[in-house]
Each structure stands twice: as C-alpha cells, then as structure tokens.
Symmetry: C2
Subunit: 351 residues, 2 copies
C-alpha cells in the first residue's frame, strides 16, 4: 500500500498552518513573524521566512477581512470606461490606491439606477474600505445604502455631503466664466452649448454655469442654442449639425465635455465648415486626445491627478477619522487655448 499521496492530488495552496509545521513553530508565531512583531526572535523569524519562501505561501486575505471587516479594497463606480476622462482618472486613482496597499474594485453603472444599486451591493458584500462614485446620478438610492453602512463615499460633482459622504466638485462656474469671457473678447455673441444626457448632474451643473456666465457677460441666452448630446462624440457631431441648420447660426459652441466637442469638430470638418473661422469650439475636461486632432481643441481643463488625489484623500480621511461628516472639495478649472477658437468672421450671418 502506498503512503498517503503527498505530491499528487489538487494540492491546495499552503496555509499558515503548513508554514508553521514546516518551520516547527505555531501558527501564532508565524502570524506574528509575518506581521513584523518585535516579539519574535530574529532566528525564529528567519525560519518562518524560509518556510514561506519554500512553500510559496501567500496569505489568504479573506480571513483577515473576516476578522477586521475591512478588505483594503476600494470600489470605483464608473459610467463609461470608454470616456478618456474616466480612464485617465482611474489610472491616477489606481496608482494612489496601490501605493496605499489597496486594490481597486471596478463596478460599472451604465445600466441606470438598477445597475448602480447592484454595483453598490456587490461592493458592500466585499466590505470595501470606500467607494468612489463617478456617475453623479440625481438618484439618491444607491448612495443611501452606502451611507447607511457608514462606508466612506466620495462622489464627483454631486454637490452634496453628509455623514461619511464627501464630494469633489469641479469649478464649472469659474471655468465657464473664463471660457465665455474669452469668447466674448474675441467678438462672439452667439454662443451655443451642447450638453449631455439631461438626467445627469454634471450636465445640469455645466449648463447652469453656462447660462449664468452668459448673463453675467450680458449675452442673451437663446433657447435654440442649448442642445442635448450624450457625452460622446456622436452626440456632439449630431448636435453641431443641428446648430448649423439654424438660420441664425451660433459663431461659437461649448461642449459639455471634450468628447462632445471633438464630435462637433468632426461634424464641422465633414460639413466643410471652417474652425475657428465659421465656428469656434470649446470643450471641457482636458483629455490627452485634445492635442491629437486638428485643429487642436481649446478646453476647460481639469487635472485628473488632482481629482484622484482629492478623492483618495477624502476617503482616507473619512475612514481614519471619527466618522464625522464628509467634506466638500473643489477642483480648479483652467482654460487652455488651442487652435479651435478664434475671432468670428466679419460677415452678417443672416442672409
């Protein structure tokens, strides 16, 4: 009869118990040695490390999570990874998280409220240390579950704070004021806006800022100059065409984000409408792409790195703090002038 199979079989990954018996100590000692406890002899620690290396031991984090109720994972709820704004944010945020020994759990929220709720539940089940909510839905529902559980949460542009709920808001107002002022100085009076899907907070905020800026500069807000896109290039493309169908065309167009503006640029190109001669175009975000197209895109730029730092900082503060109220942070917006904007051609647009 053979001995009990030792090297064959599914061979489960080594546990601390295996390491312990290999090193001739108890699991408690192994745990302490790996945790760097000063209670352990250098000699013992060495034996443990040797056993760890020999057995390729990797600790099972779910045991620790079970013990502490914290997983060192951070959930990030993203509406559309295809939008460079989000993927660039994610890159910065992931770097911060992993530098802090945390891992990023990706959750999608494309599928409206139902999707967001499911995502939130998934994250709660996994005892995330915190959650970043990028979509900024108007709906409160998904957030409430998080707040109820006191999970540190930070949203972008929700303009709302509360217990264990912080907000990082871009200074749209300031950016818009700069952009509209800049366009006005160039001689523009007919300025249009292509927003995103009406449901989302960010579109509302930027539209409001747009309208307020026009008023502040004494420019009439025209109903037909306010359009709704979809945050993607095709929406910007479509709405620029619609704007160009108007008898009295705008001479400048501001997009709710860069993709929208890039779509508008493409439409202008296709229609043989010169930019910035016949129409100036301004975006919002400052994605790396802006500089790859021709004409390059004038935009209200915001530092993705700063957003990521603010989000991560706010989460850590709430996590480590005494669970007080969240904070409201603001991110500056800077107008970057490139080739897509200029003086309007001197001709009466009405024929």
């Amino acid at each position: 009869m053979r001995q009990k199979a030792e090297k064959s079989g599914p061979k489960k990954p080594a546990t601390m118990r295996d390491v312990a018996s290999h090193a001739g100590v108890s699991v408690a000692t192994v745990s302490r040695a790996l945790g760097g406890s000063s209670l352990v002899t250098e000699e013992t620690a060495l034996a443990v490390r040797r056993a760890v290396a020999k057995l390729n031991f990797v600790p099972n984090i779910s045991a620790r999570t079970l013990k502490y109720g914290q997983s060192h994972a951070i959930g990030v709820i993203v509406p559309d990874l295809t939008n460079p704004f989000f993927s660039e944010f994610l890159r910065e945020f992931e770097a911060l998280a992993s530098a802090n020994g945390q891992v990023v759990l990706l959750a999608n929220a494309e599928a409206s409220v139902g999707g967001a709720l499911t995502s939130v539940r998934q994250l709660l089940m996994r005892l995330v240390d915190g959650v970043v909510v990028l979509p900024s839905l108007d709906e409160l529902e998904p957030y409430q579950l998080l707040t109820l559980r006191k999970v540190p949460t930070v949203a972008i542009d929700s303009r709302r704070t509360g217990p264990s709920f912080s907000d990082v808001s871009l200074m749209h107002e300031e950016g818009m004021r700069q952009a509209v002022g800049y366009l006005k100085d160039l001689g523009h009076q007919k300025i249009a806006f292509i927003g995103g899907s009406p449901g989302l907070m960010i579109s509302k905020l930027r539209l409001d800022a747009f309208q307020a800026s026009l008023k502040m500069h004494g420019i009439t807000v025209r109903h037909e100059y306010v359009r709704h896109g979809n945050y993607r290039a095709d929406g910007g493309d479509r709405e620029l065409r619609n704007l160009m169908l108007l008898a009295d065309r705008p001479t400048a167009v501001i997009g709710v984000n860069d993709l929208t503006a890039l779509g508008a640029l493409r439409a202008a190109r296709t229609l043989n409408i010169s930019v910035p001669g016949e129409v100036s175009v301004v975006g919002f975000d400052g994605i790396e792409l802006d500089d790859l197209v021709s004409p390059s895109l004038t935009t209200m730029s915001v530092s993705r790195k700063l957003i990521a730092q603010s989000c991560h900082g706010a989460l850590e503060e709430m996590r480590l703090g005494r669970g007080g109220s969240g904070r409201q942070l603001y991110i500056p917006v800077e107008l970057i002038v490139r080739q897509s904007t200029g003086r309007p051609l001197r001709k009466t647009t009405k024929h």
Copy 2:
C-alpha cells in the same frame, strides 16, 4: 441605568445571526433560505426575507470566500489604462464578468516586472477565480506564481499555453499581410514600421509579421525603416519625424498600434507633409478614435468584444474544467481602409 445601547454606538452591519434572531430561526435556516434551498418552507423563507429587508442585511462575502477558496473576482492586469485599446477591452470584459456575478479587480503593471509580481501577489491573496494578463511581458516570473497556484490565467499575445494557462492571440500575420498587400497594390515599395518598446512581446510579434509580409511581397526590408516608439502618440510623432529626415523617405508607415499611428499623423500635419499624398499611414487596433481625426485612420482592426469574450470564455473553461491544459485561441484582424492611405505621389524621392 439605561438599557444596553441598542440604537446608538457604531452599530455594526447586520450579520446572518441578527437576521436569524429577528426572524426567529437559526442561522442555518437563514443561509438555506437565502440560498434558495428547497428545504425551506415558503413561510419561513418569507419571514427571513422580511428580516433581511428590515435589517438591510448584505451577506459578507469574505466568509464565503474563506469557505470555498474562491472569491468570484477576476484580476485584470493592465499596462496602461490610457490606451483606449485597454480601456475598451476592460469595458467589454467587465460587462461579461458582472453578467456572471464576478467582479473585476484592477491591477496595474506599468512598473515592469516588480510591479507585475506585486500585482500577482495581491491577486493571489484575494483568491481570484482567474487572471487576465494584458501586458504580455517576455518575463515568465509573474506567470509562474499563478501557474503554480493553478489559478486560471489568460494572456494576450503571449503565444504560450500550459496547465491552467491559455492564450488569446491576434492574427498579426494575417493583418500585416493584408495591409502590406494593400499598400503594395497602391504602388508603395518603401514601407516603414514604427514599433513599440522593444521589450514587449506584442511589438516583436508585429515587427516579425511586418518583415515577413514584406518578404512575401518581394519588398526589401530596410533597416532604417524600422523604428521603435513607445505605444503612445508621442512615440509615433517622434519616429515619423525621424523617418522624414531620411534622404530616401518611405511613402508609407505602419504603426504598431493606433496611438502610434495617430501620433505619426499629427507629426505629418505639423510638418506640413500631406497624408496620404506624401506618406500613407496605417494603424493597428481599431480604436474608436480612429474616426475622430482627420484624415481618419486606416487600420488593422480587431474586435475588443471578441477578445473579451475569448478571454472570459477561456477562464471559465479552465475554472470549471478538470484543470487540463489551457487553449490557444486566435482573433481575426481586419483591414479597415479610411482616409490616411492612398497612392504615393509620382515623383522621385531622391533628389
């Protein structure tokens, strides 16, 4: 003396035990009810569900993970989220994962082998069900740990399979053959290639395919026509400029990926070199951006959705299968002709 505080204090999230006492049953029954076991009376199940709703109970998945050794999480190791190829892949993959009740753990691998190894260890600690490796480093090290643990792994373009290790490869050869054939038919004989960083598999594969295709079509491979970029736009920009400094300029340039080709387009624009008149440009990937620039980019396109499906399918097969050897899958590449390619101008480039 007050009663033991019930509503104040940190109030830990409800556990199954709380649900049980609330519903007047045992935790075993709660577990069964939530698992949809047919052993539970409809009546009991109802009481349990009511208690769950009342207490906002969300199961703690780390307990389950501890029991089963599987976390229903899939790790995805990405080299650069800023590259649309990867973010578009990630979107598709995340959709598949969440449709299967799995969550995506993001891991970055920018920082060479050390970074990859750290990522792999993080994923192992979390008992991921599988791992997708996008970087395709030449180094074996990080992979070995995964294989050792029998964690289902799928890599892209590693051209390597093994126990619990599958590979999804793009058919570069076929794509290159099409592209070079197409350029030759247009009249091009001087064709250059801008690769990526030399260390990565994908650059080597595409360069090899490029050179093989030239030979097959009877075109001389010129040493000075082979350049190394960095997979990003600035690399393509830089190398196109270098190519244009040559006394005998190429009339067509193929980029290792779309970002490289888009950078080359930008450089040509800046240098006032007409595309496709003076130089034709071809990319590889088929990212959504290709259509946003002008001239739009001719490219060898590959379906991100198909790649994602293949990766997820391979992982599931290995996870559910008897742990046999992994599979080698291939993804077709299709040449999409847009505006950046055309006949070379009829003039002697030598002066």
